[in-house]
Structures are given as C-alpha cells and as structure tokens.
C-alpha cells in the first residue's frame, strides 16, 4: 500500500489495483442500494440513505476515475461549479412548482 501511495504521489494517478478496488466498492454500494430498496422496514429513511449512497458513488467516480482528486483544482472548480448550479436549478424548480408543499 505504501508503495502504491508513493506511486500515486509520484505520478498523480492511482494504480490499476486501486482502480479495481474502487470498482469493487462501487459495486458493493450499488448492491447495498438495491438491498435497502427491498427492505420495507426502513420506510421513509430510504430516501436519505439512498441519496447518501448515490452521492458516495458519484464522489468516488469523480475523484478517482475522473482524477479530480489528483488534477489541478481549477478543473474541480469548473465541474463542481456546474454541479452546484444544476443542484440549485433542481431545488428552485421543485420549490417553484410546489413539490415540497
């Protein structure tokens, strides 16, 4: 692991092994999502739980597969800026059309 980390520090990108481990984590999160979906006892907690799990997958892909964690911060600002604007558009449209009421 320390060798892999040194490779990461040296080149700025993870190793193939780390990419594979991230894929395993992504699959595990998806499996948990589907499992939770069929658990009726969770009730309305399902929405925040699925939301958090989905956000975790999004962050993992963006940070490691898209290399945002290792690339220049300006790339992150451009993408996260667009993402925040999109989140605002969704929130305000839902508010405007009374979905929350």
């Amino acid at each position: 692991m320390s060798q892999e980390l040194s490779a990461e520090e040296h080149t700025g990108h993870p190793t193939a092994g780390q990419y594979f481990r991230i894929a395993v984590i992504l699959c595990a999160i998806t499996a948990v999502e589907i499992g939770i979906f069929y658990l009726e006892v969770i009730g309305h907690w399902m929405i925040p739980i699925l939301f958090i799990l989905s956000a975790s997958k999004f962050a993992l892909v963006a940070m490691y597969y898209m290399h945002l964690k290792f690339d220049h911060n300006l790339f992150s600002y451009m993408f996260v800026g667009g993402f925040i604007l999109a989140a605002c558009v969704i929130s305000f449209l839902l508010l405007l059309f009374g979905v929350y009421s």
Partner: protein, 241 residues
Amino acid sequence: MAQEHAAPIHGKDEGTTTGLSHRKMLMWAFLGSDCMFFGSLIATYLVYQGKSLEGPLPIDVFDIPVTSISTFVLLMSSMSMVLAYSALTKNNIKGFRIWMISTAIMGSTFIGFQVYEFSSFANHHVEIDCVSPGELTKYEQHIFDDGCSSGEAYAESHEGLKPQTNLFGTSFYTLTGFHGAHVTLGIVWLLSLLLLSFKKGVITPEKNLDVDLAALYWHFVDVVWIVIFTVVYLFGVFPGF
C-alpha cells in the same frame, strides 16, 4: 507496483497562460454545462412526478432487477475505461486496445438494455383476472374498474408507455433518451480512438490527451446514470416519494 503508472499530468507545463491544457479545460467546462443540462431534465422529471392523469406509472413498468444489471454493466465499463487509459500510459498498447473494446462492448450492452426497456415499456400489456384480481396498482385498478364492470372474466389494456402517453412518459423518455444518446456518442468516440490507435504515432503514451478526454466524457456519462438510477428508478417506485 510502485512504478505501475507513469501518466503525465495534463495541465502542467502546457505553455498556456494558466499552465493548463486548453482542451482539457474545455472538456471540464463542457462537463460542467452538461451537469446543468441533465439537472434541468431531472428537475422536469421530478416536477412532473405524480402529475400524470393516467397510467402506466413508474410502479407499473419499472423492472428494478433488470435496470440494476444495466447499472452494474455501466459501472464496470467505467473501470474498464480507466484501465485502458492506465495501460496506454504504461505503453501497453495491446492492453489499451483490449480494455477499449471491452468498454465499448459494455457501453453497447447498456444501450441494448435500454432498447429492451423502452420496447417493453412501449408494449406494456396488462391482463387482470376479474374474479381474483389480487393487489392492484392505481393504473391496474382503473383497468379493473373499466373492464370488469361489464361482467367480463378478464380486463386488459395494451396501451403501453410512449412519450405521448402521459407526463411520466414524456419526461422519462426525454431524460433517459438523452442519456442513451450520450452513451451512444461515447461508444462512437471510443471506437474511433481504438481505430486511430492502429495508426502509427497518433495515440502513444506521451500523446494520451485524446484518450484522457474521452475517458472523462465516459465517466461523466456514468455519474449521470448513478443519479438517474437513484432518483428516477429507485425513488420512482418508492410509494412515499
């Protein structure tokens, strides 16, 4: 293991004002703007959620196990894509080509699932036993009320879900259709790069920006699907949402 990956970091010493690659900057700007594009489509879907006057509704047509498999395939294609890029930077051209082909195949499989899903939705058929109907959804109850009131043994509907059927159909096909179009474009892009890799000196470990940009696009398509799968499919059939 320590020197497994020797990717040059694009965006450093590019000879530009910022020191960053203009092409990579443009790709990130495009992805940021595409976030807003899909954001507006997702917002439209959510605003129209539950506003359809007639069925079929999400609970009538969605098949979560099938969509889960296609989600898994797309996630795996992202891993395959990043391994293709990793192989290229290590001067493993053969590995690069294998991973690129597998990414394109998995992307095509995802599109195949989408075509299957769209056609099964469009040809959605409901048949209800009037004597023992069992537990019915709102849409099925409507068919039951219409068909069984005249003393028939079975009530059925061949309406299906098309873009013009109801608000759910319109917003669902627009959102997932645009995502499918993005995936299709990505497959064409990947196959183009694969063909270019057979031309000497076009795609090399040093000249890997073209592959890096295609990979960014592909991963973006993946993260958009992560959101769509949760918001549209899982939340869509959850009664409390």
